[in-house]
């Protein structure tokens, strides 16, 4: 399973990638939406885990762009923003099961990753 984590909090994504690596999951990370888009041309990913609020481009806009490049890519959203509006928008993009609120328990994230790989998620 190849995972791309995208969040402007660099210390969060880098640590999360390292921890996923210890659990046998190959996770790369990007701290900007533009870096994430660039990384898609170098490597194939199965799932992108996107922060919702980022400078320049929010996670939903990034999803649209990433889908344009990699139509088979699946998505999970991760947010610190707990508004209802944000929740419903996130769910409309991926389904309720694939929307996580920070701080995220790693076992819960791995469970979601496995579910997305099996079910494909709502795309």
């Amino acid at each position: 399973m190849q995972i791309l984590l995208v969040d402007d909090e660099k210390e969060l994504v880098s640590t999360l990638a390292e921890r996923l690596g210890y659990r046998g999951i190959d996770a790369h990370w990007a701290a900007t939406p533009n870096d994430a888009i660039s990384m898609l041309s170098d490597q194939n990913y199965d799932i992108a885990v996107l922060d919702v609020q980022m400078p320049d481009m929010n996670g939903f806009e990034l999803k649209e762009q990433m889908e344009g490049i990699c139509p088979e890519l699946k998505f999970i959203f991760m947010t610190g923003h707990g508004s209802e509006e944000c929740y419903y928008e996130g769910c409309s993009h991926t389904g309720e099961a694939f929307y996580l609120v920070k701080p995220v328990e790693i076992d819960s994230l791995i469970e979601k990753l496995n579910k997305v790989m099996l079910d494909g998620g709502k795309r």
Binding site: T15, G80, K102
Partner: protein, 215 residues
């Protein structure tokens, strides 16, 4: 039409508190998320050590420092929240203008960061004071800041400086190489200007706005 402070609190207070609360809670969530991952990483390393992998003390120390950094960050955010919560305690007080700018920006930092605007705040050499309500001063500064940054291109640099102008009036100046929005009408802050007997002067190029206080 003049509005009393009470009318304005009723009209704009909840929306401003809500918007800042959302910005702050988002940042606190990020701090907690980073602490959570780093605590988890320490736990992973300890588990590996229990299974015989030598513990890398330098690496472990680096993780501890990351957690300490986030604790300091969260502490700063909560202090700002506390100051904001007490901003309505005194309807009239002497306010350090640069402290108020720092607080107004700190509260809405996430919103500005999401617009990818860089703020450079230059403080006055000597402290400058404004008399009035801290809550309304924060609201006024934020309203201007939010309006100005609304249409700036990503990556723009906004310079904010507090000065005493040629008429010895306290002035907060917002400057950018790019022009601000052409429609600079601010209904809410327009009313707040009255509370400080202040005026907002936009230059012809629309890339500098001076908030000049009358009191």
């Amino acid at each position: 039409m003049k509005h009393t402070a009470q009318e304005m609190i009723t009209q704009y207070g909840p929306a401003y508190f809500g918007r800042m609360g959302a910005s702050i809670s988002h940042d606190i969530k990020n701090c907690l998320a980073i602490m959570n991952e780093n605590a988890g990483l320490m736990s992973d390393h300890l588990m590996m050590a229990q299974k015989g992998t030598p513990l890398d003390i330098e690496r472990f120390s680096e993780i501890v420092q990351r957690i300490e950094k986030q604790i300091a960050r969260a502490d700063g955010i909560v202090k700002s929240l506390n100051n904001f919560s007490h901003s309505m305690d005194n309807p009239e007080q002497q306010i350090d203008l640069d402290e108020a700018v720092g607080l107004a920006f700190g509260l809405g930092a996430r919103i500005i960061a999401n617009r990818n605007i860089n703020i450079n705040h230059t403080q006055a050499a000597d402290k400058l004071y404004v008399n009035g309500s801290l809550f309304f001063l924060l609201f006024l500064i934020w309203s201007i800041l939010e309006k100005i940054t609304e249409n700036l291109a990503s990556g723009a640099l906004l310079n904010i400086s507090s000065i005493k102008d040629e008429n010895k009036q306290v002035c907060l100046s917002f400057q950018c190489e790019q022009p601000f929005a052409s429609d600079f009408g601010l209904e809410a802050s327009g009313r707040t200007l009255d509370l400080f007997q202040a005026k907002l002067v936009l230059d012809d190029q629309h890339n500098r706005a001076d908030l000049i206080f009358g009191n």
